[in-house]
């Protein structure tokens, strides 16, 4: 415990350096703006900012990008509450009761509770990250290729089980992503696969071009025709203060949402989205007045907003401790760290304590900055929403082209982005979840390498996966989840999605 405290002090000594503070502040502001703008979620925001971090030191780079991530979680709630437009997908549930509160003249308290819940959840998430990541990293030092193979496969099964939509479609998208990951030179044999003679594809398909295409471009293709400039309410500072009753009713959902969100955040998939749906479902289920949900229940704002912020932080645990991304955002952040020659994984915390603890401490600071800034400045931020979309979306498109091109000064990346934008647009029309594609792209080469290394170690014996207890346990857990996921398909029964109302929301 004392060691953790000392490490945290080291982190704060780094986080309070003026340069780090400035970039944390900038990341939070950019993230808030990005989260508020439909068509530019945290993933697109981080991807577009990535080239700008090349010249920065790795600590500053990751602090900036993380600030964008959790800033976007804050920002997404503002448009959901004031305009019923989710700035990013995790804020969809906040629209329901948040906007109803706005219609009831309680927009201010809804914004305040969303910000307070986000701050509390962010802080709980950082404490969880601080305590869990080093322990997990120490444990993961025992991992060899068979354990990584088992872990990655288990992750894919968890992804399928916990997906917000159809399990089969999620698996199909994960495999599509894994196949994209096969493009390029095979490390073990030297063969260049599926490159169609394009030299640039020898290094594989970049996560940034795929992510910006799938999430940024496809969103613009879906929404570009919108001509409306929305009417926006601007609550004054005095109107932001919630009543005692609203505070009392929000306390439980904030705490439950924080714990739930952090736990869901650790597992693979669109955790911040799923956590907000699950939190909303739970709050509605345990409420004595479920009929208030949908009509402006503050619990319906407090729970999901806390959950999606905690999940955003939870996703950093496997990223920093194992070097494995569990969401498209962490996949891009891993790419950002690797550009600086640092490999995330079990050794990161030991070899780069300044980076890990500086990052953790900066998240404490960032959460506080967001709370202090967002409430008084909400009126300023919503002015951005008055810009007609006809001006906004061409600028976002220009940013997408600029950001993707700048990653490796390659026009091929721009073509990949556009192709993925078109593919993502069609897939969304057919209700496919896109997050598994981005995850599969990153996990594919890791999975293939660890599988083939395991077989090389064992002389081709698959028994190596059964002889190693950690690998065997993970395979059993993965198999169990797969069976659970298949159960509703075979027995036509309802699964957890219908219990939390996720399928209903997906269908609308």
């Amino acid at each position: 415990m004392i060691e953790t405290f000392n490490d945290l002090m080291l982190g704060f000594s780094i986080a309070f350096q003026p340069e780090v503070l400035v970039y944390a502040f900038a990341g939070c502001i950019i993230g808030t703006l990005v989260g508020m703008m439909p068509g530019l979620g945290p993933l697109a925001g981080i991807s577009l900012l990535l080239p700008a971090t090349f010249g920065l030191n790795p600590i500053v780079a990751i602090v900036l990008l993380a600030g964008v991530y959790y800033g976007a979680m804050y920002g997404g709630s503002t448009t959901s509450i004031l305009m019923r437009i989710p700035g990013e997908a995790a804020s969809v549930m906040t629209c329901v009761d948040g906007y109803a509160m706005t219609q009831n003249g309680r927009a201010g308290p809804a914004l305040a509770i969303a910000a307070i819940g986000s701050f509390f959840a962010g802080t709980v998430g950082v404490i969880g990250l601080m305590l869990l990541a080093p322990t997990l990293a120490t444990f993961a030092l025992r991992f060899g290729p068979p354990e990584y193979t088992a872990l990655l496969l288990m992750g894919l099964f968890v992804l399928a089980y916990m997906s917000g939509g159809s399990m089969l479609k999620t698996l199909a998208m994960a495999i599509f992503g894994l196949l994209l990951g096969m493009i390029g030179i095979d490390i073990m044999s030297g063969y260049t696969r599926f490159s169609f003679g394009i030299v640039e594809l020898g290094d594989g398909v970049g996560i940034v071009s795929v992510a910006v295409g799938l999430f940024g471009i496809s969103e613009i293709l879906l929404t570009a025709g919108n001509q409306d400039t929305p009417q926006v309410q601007k609550p004054t500072l005095r109107e932001l203060i919630p009543s005692k009753e609203e505070f009392r009713r929000s306390a439980g959902p904030i705490m439950r949402g924080s714990l739930l969100g952090f736990m869901i955040g650790i597992i693979p998939g669109s955790a911040h989205i799923i956590s907000s749906f699950v939190s909303y479902g739970i709050e509605r289920r345990i409420s004595n007045h479920p009929e208030r949900f949908g009509n402006g229940a503050i619990e319906g704002v407090a729970g999901p907003e806390s959950a999606n912020n905690a999940a955003a932080t939870g996703a950093f645990v496997p990223m920093l401790a194992l070097g494995i991304p569990t969401s498209p955002v962490t996949a891009v952040m891993i790419a950002a760290i690797m550009i600086h020659g640092i490999s995330p994984g079990p050794m990161l915390i030991q070899e780069q304590p300044e980076l890990f603890w500086g990052f953790v401490a900066s998240m404490y600071v960032g959460n506080l900055v967001l709370l202090i800034l967002n409430l008084p400045m909400v009126g300023l931020f919503v002015n951005l929403l008055r810009i007609p979309y006809a001006y906004m979306y061409p600028c976002i498109l220009a940013f997408c082209i600029l950001g993707v091109y700048s990653v490796s000064n390659s026009i091929i990346d721009v073509w990949i982005m556009l192709m993925m934008g078109g593919v993502g647009y069609v897939l969304r029309k057919f209700h496919f979840d896109l997050a598994p594609v981005a995850l599969g792209l990153v996990l594919g080469p890791m999975l293939e390498l660890s599988l083939r290394q395991s077989l090389a170690l064992s002389g081709g014996e698959y028994g190596i996966f059964l002889e190693r207890p950690i690998a065997l346990t993970m395979f059993c857990l993965g198999g169990l989840l797969l069976l659970l996921a298949l159960k509703p398909l075979i027995f036509k029964s309802k699964d957890w999605r219908s219990k939390v109302g996720l399928e209903d929301e997906e269908a609308t």
Partner: protein, 162 residues
């Protein structure tokens, strides 16, 4: 996210081809295509997998799942219920972005983005000339200054040094 136009359109009859049946069959076709492309790479054996082994496994998995999606997709939305009200604009956006990509390395960042914004805001969105000019000039020069000059990200420059 469904567009307002989709939400307002009444759903067609429940008969006919379903969306999941189509998407499942497309996945099967994609799996077959990948399997066909993969024929160039040695698959190796179970004990000693070659570079074609994992892609083949994945293609088989994708094909099987695609088949399941198609077979179990009888209760999904009818294909005709999927509306494409923004389809034309989406195609225009993709074509314009492709043109911008081609132009980027030939005429440089600033001119490309200026022309790109004039096309979208002026020609497609039909906004007044003054705001179009202000946004296009301001964004192309401003973003170059911030990203290129301040953050030192190398951006393409045209043959005229601009």
């Amino acid at each position: 996210m469904e567009t307002p136009a989709e939400q307002q359109t009444p759903p067609p009859s429940s008969t006919g081809i379903k969306s999941d049946q189509v998407s499942g069959l497309v996945l099967v076709a994609l799996a077959i295509y990948i399997g066909w492309l993969n024929r160039k790479f040695p698959v190796g054996s179970l004990a000693d997998p070659g570079p074609g082994y994992v892609p083949l496994l994945l293609a088989i998995g994708l094909g099987l799942i695609g088949l399941l999606v198609a077979v179990l997709g009888g209760h999904s939305r009818p294909l005709a219920a999927i509306r494409w009200p923004e389809g034309t604009r989406a195609v225009i956006i993709l074509v314009a972005c492709t043109a911008a990509g081609v132009a980027l390395e030939h005429i440089g960042y600033r001119l490309t983005i200026f022309a790109f914004l004039v096309f979208f805001i002026g020609a497609i969105e039909r906004r007044r000339p003054l705001p179009v000019a202000l946004v296009s000039v301001g964004f192309s020069l401003g973003s170059y200054f911030v990203i290129g000059d301040l953050l030192h990200v190398p951006l393409p420059v045209g043959p005229w040094g601009f």
